[in-house]
Symmetry: C2
Subunit: 525 residues, 2 copies
């Protein structure tokens, strides 16, 4: 058993059985070892941003890490943007990055670069496995770090000679991680303090929920707290995973633009953080605040995303003698299908009308997403996955990984046209693995958000050349044709009726499909 | 004039007038400033790997840097692989990376990351411009570094507040770089020593040429040295730019695989390096040497790529009293067109037969490239651009930038199907800018090189699952359809006759076009 096989078997023994990859020569022994470790499923992506984004989506749904196998520094670099998004999602991930053999590094061959330095900004842990006698321990440690609460990025650099060598003896074969750091319990006195804060007179309180607090059963506990205290329940704008829909306690998502957040928080005087950061502006703007908490509002950080949020909310509900059931759960209520001109609102209505139970919605619709929340809150129970790190090009890969994690669930991927082009190669993997994903491209032929932002930054002169750089209509992209060229059947639709028909059909039929929804950019403000 | 405009005007004053970009909100003021600085041409790419690869191609042909404008850490990360290739090509490049406003960083908003740390492994110089009063000086310094011999990567991080602020007074506006470090002269005693080495009896000598030594007039001087000494002229396998074809001195390119290099260098006893590194294996293999220089061969590093190679070779020719003309220049000799089954050999013949004068060939054909060199060496004078850093996905972007640098020259882009998928979004920019590029996709439906490598690493067990990860035929990609979906007209061809016809036609017609050449993987060894 060489180093590569020890690495794979250690991953499998640690519960990791999916490896998203785009390998090269330096990973050859790891790829070859796949034939000796059939428990590990290898999934090929044609670009590393697909690979790392898929690992993120997999982790969000499976609740455990996938591995990635990447080709030296440039392969890792290509995957970094979606590792950034995964890091912001607190998704566990184990990246295995092949490197030159240790003795080969000094020759500075063309593909040589400082892989550890590239990995560090986006990783919680980086190590180079310098010997085959160390690879089992190093792999187990990577898994331990990745699985530690709330979920982290571990990057293990695997020199080719570590991969191809044989260990000195069998004491160096196959390790599993010991002592994974689970979520940190929130202390009883913190629970008591928060309860006291929520009960104080004359205050308007809100809980800001993040991480596992947006999943069941935590949501139910939050709803019981709400029933006891009338507090509002908020979440950040972008979350790794939120369970929502009919029967679930409704959480108000903060809007994207800072002014709207300030307005929403206007009446709140006490904001309790439970797994979420204090609200800040996504970008800074001249003469606008970055900190979006009103001056009259006191912020209490009760628990971070590393805490045991489910137990915390349960304990808090008990401490408050909360009713056994939430006062308010979203009712089952679907909007009617709409007709006429196709726009983000009519598409949102179709989603709300047709979304099947247990669907996974991956949302990177940007300016086209605004109507989705309200239109789908009464749809059957589903999970909602957001763009967590702001790096567009995440929806298609995350959908790919989510579908691998949950082959029995329908995945609906919503993407702007600009974002979709970043990692469009995802479609090929979806076709190859026959994944049950319906991708909707909001084809407004622009980086529409940037036109909005251009108005917000106070530029007063002529901006025709600037706007040209936000426009995708010269030439017009044809996503339906593009999808078909990668093996995914697709249809371009121009009316609401046509969208409704094909979307309804695809909610019932399995397999990958792309709908190119030709819309005008949404008008804001 | 705000910081963004000062930055743009400083670039223009320093001779940089093309900016490849994929901007976002943090770069909004820089984009807006484009309307006030019409001398700067903004070229949009739909993915940052396109942007940085285009800047590389531009620099190789224009001989001066372009700027890139990138969106925070993830935008830079997406561009790093082609920055790696550019660094290996010694291409000058000035990357401007927007960041959050300095005061906004502490809030750790979702897009926050350590941009300097990400930039450092691939950059010769990294700086954050922390004040609008500093931006002119910082921009000029970035240009100075980039233009210093032989060409470097300079990355300037531009916080949004530096961009939107006004300077204290007009002494802080617009700077140009002072004292660009030109190529280092090679000392006379080195020239004399090398001449003596080349003249020593009983030795078989070779010059290993790299960088500017592969361009005219250096090539002519090298040919004169060859005429005087009978030395062989070699170059590395992968070079930023080589001028070749009829009338030029022929340089033997080292083959890719180490065994073949060892065999080629077999008789050489003295190897003089002039702008090229000593030959090393691209990858390491068990029980194979990384250093490919035979034990009996002495290596002399006469000049690095930072030296004035043209003057060095001229001085060396004079020192040797070399004839005024090279003994051997490649004759004008085109191969006949071939017919029958389409394969890399028949495609290479078509290139040799049809390549127009002053064409720029960008070669990332990998296993399909082997026949190209001999078939084109008698074609009219042209430039050949290789994949310099081994990170595939470079040919389409580099072609894009090369065509912007030389709108009057035909660009022929040769790419494997696997590599093309990395940065396929390049086609859209080619359509948008109406660039004169004919892209040939060697569609063998595999990462063919990896199948070869799998055989080379000595794996003996069944490798069917491994090979599945190198296969691109499930589903089959349709590049012609894909190109059309991005606005580039295209044709799929299955026979040599069909290839010849469409390639001949496109050598005469301007504008972007893609030919999908359906071939079988080349059989090696």
């Amino acid at each position: 058993m060489n180093g590569a096989e020890i690495m794979l078997r250690s991953l499998v023994s640690s519960g990791i059985d999916v490896c998203f990859t785009n390998p090269g020569t330096s990973e050859m022994h790891a790829v070859a070892a796949l034939d000796r470790v059939p428990e590990m499923r290898g999934v090929l992506g044609l670009f590393e941003g697909v690979v790392t984004g898929a690992a993120d989506g997999y982790a969000r749904i499976a609740g455990k890490p996938a591995a990635t196998l990447l080709h030296l520094g440039p392969g890792l670099a290509n995957g970094l943007a979606n590792i950034h998004n995964a890091r912001r999602a607190a998704s566990p991930m184990v990246n295995i990055v092949g490197d030159h053999a240790l003795e080969h590094r000094k020759f500075d061959a063309p593909l040589t670069s400082d892989i550890e330095a590239l990995a560090r900004p986006m990783s919680a842990w980086v190590r180079t496995s310098r010997s085959v006698n160390q690879i089992a321990v190093d792999t187990a440690e990577a898994v331990r770090i990745a699985r530690s609460a709330p979920g982290r990025i571990a990057t293990l650099v695997l020199p080719a000679d570590t991969s191809w060598s044989l260990p000195d003896d069998d004491t160096h074969e196959v390790e599993t991680p010991s002592e994974i750091e689970g979520p940190i319990p929130v202390k009883a006195d913190v629970v008591e303090s928060v309860a006291a804060i929520l009960k104080s007179d004359g205050e308007t309180s809100a809980l800001m929920l993040g991480g596992a607090a947006l999943l069941e059963p935590a949501l139910t506990f939050a709803g019981r707290i709400q029933a006891a205290t009338e507090c509002r329940l908020f979440s950040p704008t972008f979350n790794a995973r939120t369970t929502r829909g009919a029967g679930h306690v409704r959480v108000e998502k903060l809007p994207y633009f800072g002014e709207a957040v300030v307005s929403l928080l206007h009446k709140t005087t006490q904001l309790i953080l439970a797994g979420a950061p204090s609200p800040v502006s996504f970008f800074a703007y001249p003469d606008k605040p970055s900190d979006l908490v009103p001056a009259h509002c006191q912020v209490y950080e009760a628990a971070t995303s590393s805490h045991d949020l489910t137990s915390f909310l349960s304990d808090l509900a008990d401490e408050l003698d909360a009713p056994s059931e939430p006062g308010r759960r979203a009712g089952a209520q679907r909007p009617p299908l709409m007709s006429g001109d196709l726009n983000p609102g009519t598409i949102a209505a179709a989603l709300g009308h047709l979304l099947p139970e247990h669907a996974i919605v991956v949302d990177e619709g940007a300016t086209s997403s605004f109507a989705l929340g309200p239109m789908t809150e009464g749809a059957p129970s589903h999970d909602w996955l957001d763009l967590t790190g702001g790096s567009i090009g995440q929806a298609l890969p995350v959908s790919t990984g989510a579908a691998i994690a949950a082959p029995d669930r329908k995945v609906v991927c919503l993407s702007g046209d600009g974002g979709a082009m970043y990692t469009i190669q995802s479609l090929w993997t979806q076709a190859r693995e026959n994944l049950d994903i319906v991708t909707v491209i909001f084809a407004n032929r622009a980086y529409a958000i940037l036109n909005v932002e251009l108005g917000r930054v106070g530029v007063e002169h002529d901006t025709s050349r600037a706007k040209e750089l936000f426009s995708l209509d010269r030439p017009e992209l044809n996503f339906a044709e593009m999808a078909q060229s990668m093996g995914v059947p697709a249809k371009r639709v121009e009316t609401t009726e046509a969208f409704n028909e094909v979307f309804a059909e695809r909610m019932k039929a399995p397999g990958p499909f792309l709908i190119e929804a030709m819309i005008d950019p949404i008008q804001l403000g």
